[in-house]
């Protein structure tokens, strides 16, 4: 039976923990909102780029543009987006497991599979596994912006254009809502243009200086923006996962405090009763 003092101490420490989890939940909620805003503001831009690529690809045979070139996927790369920090429920475990599963399911079709990892948690997990990590991008999750996205884009684009890689896929958490995330696998390279619905006013464009030059200007941007969007989605998902994890941790701490308080009160009552018994029996012995 723990003493009164022990119980009091435990209640105190659980309360402290509860305060921390509550604060973490609040911080996650604020950062989630920021990430969501980022996704919203990026949307018109990324849609325009997607449209124009669809349009360009439709109007001309652009399968010969190096970034659209379909090769036999011998060497593929999988880019995994995880988080730097833990305490976000099953976020990292889920994405790591999904990636491993994806590799296992697809390893037959390819000669060589390598990984690119964003986030410390993914690096820790995969560096002890079979599939080699080609690049580990550090300090991306802490500052998700166009610049950090373009460092990744340039790296994968370079490897793809040099023929080192035949296809690049991304495994990341798509943000559905604050409580639901969905792990998706998307092909990043070669770029697959969206289907273009041929409207009746299919006009012939003047291209300045040439179609190729416009393609050259647009495609790498598209890639960067795609990666940026995925990073934002992953960040929003991480914050959502952390928010719900911390919310349940806070309510668990509340339950624990209630139980301990009950235990404390019982112990206190028992003490009082014992003391009373002693006094009464002492008084009786005198009379």
């Amino acid at each position: 039976m723990p003493s009164l003092k022990d119980i009091r101490k435990r209640i105190g420490s659980v309360k402290n923990t509860q305060q921390i989890t509550k604060a973490m939940k609040m911080v996650a909620a604020a950062r989630l909102r920021k990430a969501q805003e980022g996704i919203e503001t990026l949307r018109p831009y990324s849609y325009r780029l997607k449209d124009v690529i669809a349009e360009l690809a439709y109007r001309s045979d652009f399968s010969d543009h190096p970034l659209l070139e379909q090769r036999e996927p011998k060497n593929i790369e999988i880019l995994v987006l995880t988080s730097d920090r833990g305490l976000c429920g099953g976020f990292n475990a889920n994405i790591n497991r999904a990636t491993s599963r994806y590799i296992k399911e697809n390893e037959k079709g390819h000669e060589n599979i390598v990984l690119d990892v964003v986030g410390r948690k993914g690096n820790e997990y995969f560096k002890r596994r079979e599939t080699p990590i080609k690049n580990y991008f550090e300090d991306i999750v802490a500052n998700v912006n166009l610049e950090s996205a373009s460092t990744i884009a340039e790296k994968v684009m370079g490897d793809f254009l040099e023929g080192e890689l035949d296809a690049v896929y991304v495994v990341y958490n798509e943000f559905k809502s604050a409580i639901t995330q969905e792990i998706v696998v998307e092909q990043l390279l070669p770029i697959v243009p969206a289907s273009y619905d041929d409207d009746a006013n299919a006009t012939d464009f003047i291209y300045e200086p040439s179609k190729e030059a416009v393609m050259d200007a647009v495609l790498p941007r598209h890639l960067t923006v795609q990666i940026y969007r995925m990073l934002l989605e992953s960040l929003a998902s991480e914050m959502g996962a952390r928010m719900s994890a911390m919310d349940s941790a806070t309510s668990n701490a509340g339950e624990l405090i209630d139980r301990l308080t009950l235990q404390y009160n019982r112990a206190r009552q028992a003490n009082i009763t014992a003391e009373l018994m002693e006094i009464i029996s002492g008084a009786e012995a005198i009379s």
């Binding site: 503001t41 325009r48 166009l146 464009f205 291209y207 200086p209 416009v214 200007a217 647009v218």
Partner: protein, 137 residues
Amino acid sequence: MQLQVVTPQGAKVDAKIEQVTAPGVLGEMSILAGHLPLMTGLGIGLLQYKDSAGSHHLAVSGGYLEVADDVVIVVSETAEAPEEIDLARAEISRKKAEKAIGDAEDGGEDWQIAVDKLARAENRIAAGKLTKAPVPV
């Protein structure tokens, strides 16, 4: 004629305009209503457009411009109005870029990046010094 300017920071302009002048990769070009469908890459420079209130400026860098059905769509990495530009900060990045050009090997990759940075900084400074309010025509 309609002008839409979209950047990663969101849609910047969506307005009825009379004329737009943009820094195309082959040099500056002006577009009036009824222009043929056109698609071109954009360089670093000033985008100017006129609407009923007067003339406006935006500092743009990269991206492309599309004209179709009397709608001009500009998709650029940045598009800043003179009042949005922090001149002091632009000046700092200009100095940094100048220093980087001096440090880098001529014609190398770092050098090219620094040259682009310098062009962007100078463009922003030029735009930032322009009259803030639209000029009546």
